[in-house]
């Protein structure tokens, strides 16, 4: 790659390149032919059935085209054919690592659409579950990211060990490990018992210790630092323009957390901080998530301490024959992966007329190519890992 190419490349990487078309043809025959390699849909590191068509010059990526749709399960179409309630279990299967937040986002949108109130206790329980989900999601993400970096499973195993503890909580509350189907319009399905709350409290108390150990294993590790720092840099301008949200946006230094901005639920009552990165590289994305987990523990502690008594479900809420008034609503929350939003258009029938999901990881992938150009295959893998995608949500 010649110097001018590199200059062009780096300028491309740093400017908020809005064109979208970023096909670069570099062909200098000394440097060899370009090799077009398909990574995915069956590839150990694409976290499912994602596919990237990378064009390589040696090992350097000169072009990267993501291919979607291998897990396109027609979620939105199905949402138009089932009732509002019937869509709830489907949202579990969107981002299947964080079904609780998906549930919440959907419930929030429907509550907006139907003007449904939510009792305070349910709001607290939602916060608790959302933060548990955040812990779960970020822990797993760190594990998967490290797997992509080439760890032989150890961080992932530790992550999943902790995940099991959270899943146990979810399971004993909602009945299912992953597909909780727990939130309802106007509250939650079951009231957490005192035992459950002690369990959650215990988990919140010891999660910090686990994070310490996890960080000792990873954060100071020279190899990981070398692998991740300066890799996959994203500028705040491009991040904003590309609609990047969540930890990935905050890693670029943009202070935008819907829990603060939209102040939905009872979040304003809690004292927590929003960690911000300065480089927008893979390391920042990883670290922001780790730091967010520590904040989540704080929120958990506060929410568990302040959980009010009262009904878990609004008595006026309807389960069957639920027909919101015609109209539309867009509700969004800060999911672990970013802004997860639901846009609902009701025509007064029991099924939504239009049921649209704003999937954070799908939109975060917009900048994948920009982040990967000029890096090597090995970097592309961890950059993808640091975006934190779940295909169920990307392809829906």
């Amino acid at each position: 790659m010649s110097a001018s190419d590199h200059a062009a490349l780096s300028s491309q990487l740093s400017t908020p390149h809005v064109g979208g078309a970023n096909v670069r043809e570099v062909h200098d025959s000394f440097h060899g032919d370009l090799l077009e390699v398909s990574m995915g849909p069956h590839h150990p590191s694409t976290h499912g059935v994602f596919r990237m068509i990378v064009t390589l010059d040696g090992e350097t990526i000169v072009k990267l085209k993501p291919v979607f749709g291998y897990l396109h399960r027609n979620h939105e179409k199905l949402g138009e054919t089932v009732t509002y309630l019937g869509s709830m279990p489907y949202t579990d299967r969107l981002d299947y690592l964080s079904s609780m937040t998906n549930n919440w986002a959907y419930a929030l949108a429907v509550e907006k659409l139907a003007g449904q109130a939510v009792p305070e206790r349910a709001e607290y329980v939602r916060v608790i579950l959302a933060e548990l989900t955040r812990l779960l999601n970020h822990t797993c993400l760190a594990g998967f990211l490290m797997q992509d970096c080439g760890c032989s499973g150890t961080p992932l195993m530790y992550a999943f060990r902790e995940r099991e503890y959270i899943l146990d909580l979810f399971e004993s509350l909602s009945g299912s490990r992953m597909m909780c189907n727990y939130q309802r319009f106007g509250g939650c399905r079951v009231d957490p018992s005192a035992d459950w709350l002690t369990g959650a409290q215990k988990l919140a108390d010891r999660y910090g210790t686990f994070l310490d150990e996890f960080e000792t294993l990873l954060t100071g590790n020279e190899i990981i630092i070398a692998r991740t720092q300066g890799v996959g840099k994203l500028s705040p301008e491009l991040a904003i323009s590309a609609g990047v949200t969540g930890p990935m946006l905050r890693a670029t230094g943009v202070n935008y957390d819907l829990r603060k901005v939209d102040a939905y639920g009872v979040y304003p009552r809690f004292d927590f901080r929003v960690p911000l990165g300065d480089h927008g590289d893979v390391y920042d994305r990883y670290m922001i998530r780790v730091l967010e987990m520590r904040e989540s523990i704080k929120i958990l502690q506060q929410a568990l301490a302040g959980l009010p008594a009262g009904p878990i479900m609004d008595p006026k809420a309807k389960l069957r024959s639920f027909r919101p008034k015609a109209g539309e609503a867009y509700g969004r929350i800060e999911g672990p992966k970013g802004e997860i939003g639901f846009y609902l258009l009701s025509d007064g029938s029991p099924n939504p007329y239009r049921y649209r999901i704003r999937p954070p990881s799908f939109i975060n992938l917009t900048v994948l190519e920009d982040m990967c150009l000029g890096h090597t295959v090995a970097d592309a893998v961890i950059i993808l890992g640091s975006v934190d995608i779940v295909l169920g949500e990307v392809d829906r």
């Binding site: 010649s2 110097a3 590199h6 025959s29 060899g32 032919d33």
Partner: protein, 187 residues
């Protein structure tokens, strides 16, 4: 023992001959490596242990790499590894030349009487007994080589050192003509 020598010779020559006549360069290179092994085996047969291993280390371990890289780098793009057929006339003339040279050499070898050259005490060949794996020919332990190298041939060593350095500089400069840019790029 002669049998071993003949075996080694046949192996070496065959691999070399095939290597030089193949059209697939990768196969050529790999076969040539096999032939280098044969040569190393010959050194071993002759009792030059150190050189034999040196041959393997340098040729098989390093020269082969350079050759393979060169092959991979200079294939015309997308085309197969198979290179174009060479002209037949050239081949024929080359073979004729080769055979002529070989004839001259063989004649010279056969004419010479080696009896007087042979050092006393070299058994013509050792067969059978299996008791004494001792070789009475000149041996060159590493220590001998070292002593030689550092005394009689110290000057040569230095010359080799200079040669290697120059070769290094030359080869790198030749092969990496866009080096100055790459230096700018490297952080």
């Amino acid at each position: 023992m002669t049998a071993a020598l003949i075996l080694i010779a046949v192996f070496t020559l065959a691999t070399a001959a095939v290597a030089l006549s193949l059209r697939n360069l990768i196969h050529s290179a790999l076969l040539l490596i096999a032939s280098w092994f044969g040569i190393a085996a010959f050194y071993l047969w002759a009792g030059a242990e150190f050189v034999a291993f040196a041959q393997v280390l340098v040729y098989v371990g390093a020269v082969s790499m350079v050759v393979l890289f060169a092959v991979l780098l200079t294939r015309r793009s997308r085309a197969d590894t198979v290179i174009a057929r060479d002209s037949v006339e050239r081949a024929i003339s080359a073979v004729i030349t080769g055979i002529a040279v070989f004839g001259v050499l063989v004649a010279a070898i056969l004419k010479t009487s080696f009896a007087r050259l042979s050092p006393a005490g070299v058994p013509p060949l050792q067969s059978g007994t299996g008791v004494s794996p001792v070789i009475s020919a000149p041996t060159a332990t590493v220590r001998d080589i070292g002593m030689q190298l550092m005394s009689a041939h110290a000057a040569a060593l230095l010359i080799i050192g200079i040669l290697l350095t120059v070769a290094l500089l030359g080869a790198v400069v030749l092969a990496a003509q866009d080096a100055p840019e790459s230096k700018q790029e490297s952080p």
